[in-house]
């Protein structure tokens, strides 16, 4: 049980997919214009992540190594399709707000990344908790970003007006998403620099694969740049 709790802690704090690993940027920026949307996207991704981690872990000895990634994609895409229909039926408001970003959960790097690096190598229970931890970490991050942008940008929280504050509209629009994330990464860098560590390497520093830092691709790129 201890190791399961460790997985949870790992996903939420130590290896938080958004704040620490900087993965899955597309939905992070696109749907965090309000707390409701951010939390909804986070929870949807968590459901897919837990289910796909569980199934991939169950099938990890059956799936041949050569067709590993296509098999993972099919499993993830199946759960995304199920989720899409559940949302359409029971939560139409959320479904409309998230729109095309629901089917795009399939290409979210966090899910394939965890399948590849954790679920395909570990037993079922730790894999479920890994999915739960990463999913909660993602939900937490999107909720914080969503709440921040909603308060600053629209002057509301969960749709309730904050008296005496009208909001700066740019923060709920597309450019605001970039600025908020920039401020976040810069704050992290500031903390790391004042602790005497190096600034964090992220996607923009040369790692180009959406599925995390795929070394083979990086090497090819390095060669290309030289």
């Amino acid at each position: 049980m201890n190791s399961c709790l460790k997985q949870l802690y790992n996903g939420i704090i130590k290896e938080n997919p958004t704040f620490v690993l900087i993965l899955g940027m597309c939905p992070t920026l696109a749907v965090t214009s309000s707390l409701f949307n951010g939390a909804g996207m986070g929870l949807s991704t968590m459901v897919v992540l837990v289910m796909s981690n569980m199934v991939i872990s169950l099938l990890r000895k059956i799936i041949p190594n050569g067709v590993r990634v296509p098999a993972f994609i099919v499993i993830v895409a199946s759960f995304v399709t199920i989720l899409q229909f559940l949302l359409q039926a029971y939560m139409p408001a959320l479904n409309d707000a998230l729109g095309i970003y629901i089917p795009l959960i399939v290409v979210n790097c966090i899910i394939l990344g965890r399948a590849e690096s954790f679920a395909s190598k570990n037993p079922v229970l730790p894999s479920i908790f890994d999915g739960l931890g990463m999913g909660l970490g993602f939900t937490l991050a999107l909720s914080i970003l969503g709440a921040f942008r909603e308060i600053i940008g629209a002057g509301t929280i969960l749709g309730i007006n904050i008296p005496g504050w009208d909001g700066i509209t740019i923060f709920v629009m597309a450019p605001g998403a970039f600025f908020v994330l920039a401020a976040l990464v810069a704050t992290q860098n500031y903390i790391r620099l004042s602790a005497g560590k190096k600034p964090r390497k992220t996607c923009a520093d040369g790692c180009t694969g959406c599925s995390g830092c795929d070394t083979s691709i990086n090497n090819e790129n390095a060669k290309e740049e030289n």
Binding site: A77, A174, F178, C203, A204, G209, C210
Partner: protein, 191 residues
């Protein structure tokens, strides 16, 4: 014809794929250090998006709809795109080596580019016909090319600038993208 041009312009400038829809952010931030590599990535994206939206359109209306299997859309599309990218890579390598040399390194990165799947799905969601689908696919991909080349230009120019330490690298790139997004909102009234 005018409608098609308007669709292409709208998807390229007004609803720019990266700057207002946030699709394809990873390659946008990752391959934008130099203008020529950025242009290569943009060209590869145009190529793959055009092919994949043609193929997914055909599969959706000729196979999935007649068989009442529309609900398999997401699964089929992502597999088709992944297979297609592999296939394109192999064909280029064998038959058009100069083009492979120019685009080859970028092709594997495109499978996970959400813009490709995003365009395929939104064409179907919007109920576009074939010509309009192609126009919106081209517009989207061209918008990506414009955005990534401009960002690469900005990053090249600002490379030696004296930026406060915590803002060096990713944060500065994100701020530049944000300013570009503001500039692109100026196109809103265009159509």
């Amino acid at each position: 014809m005018t409608a098609l041009i308007l669709t292409a312009l709208g998807t390229a400038l007004v609803n720019n794929v990266v700057l207002s829809q946030f699709l394809g952010l990873c390659p946008f931030l990752g391959v934008s250090k130099k203008t020529n590599t950025a242009a290569g990535m943009g060209a590869a994206v145009i190529f793959v998006i055009m092919i994949s939206s043609t193929v997914t359109y055909g599969i959706y209306y000729k196979i999935l709809v007649p068989l009442d299997l529309e609900y398999l859309q997401t699964i089929v599309f992502i597999l088709v795109i992944a297979a297609l990218v592999q296939l394109v890579e192999m064909i280029l390598k064998k038959y058009i080596p100069p083009l492979y040399k120019a685009l080859g390194v970028y092709l594997p990165l495109i499978t996970t580019n959400c813009a490709v799947l995003g365009v395929a799905i939104s064409n179907i969601d919007n109920g576009y016909n074939f010509a309009t689908s192609l126009a919106s696919a081209f517009g989207t991909a061209f918008g990506f090319l414009i955005a990534i080349v401009i960002l690469a230009g900005i990053r090249e120019k600002s490379e030696g600038n004296d930026i406060p330490k915590p803002f060096r690298g990713t944060p500065m790139t994100l701020i530049a993208s944000g300013l570009m997004a503001i500039a692109f909102t100026g196109f809103t009234g265009l159509i």
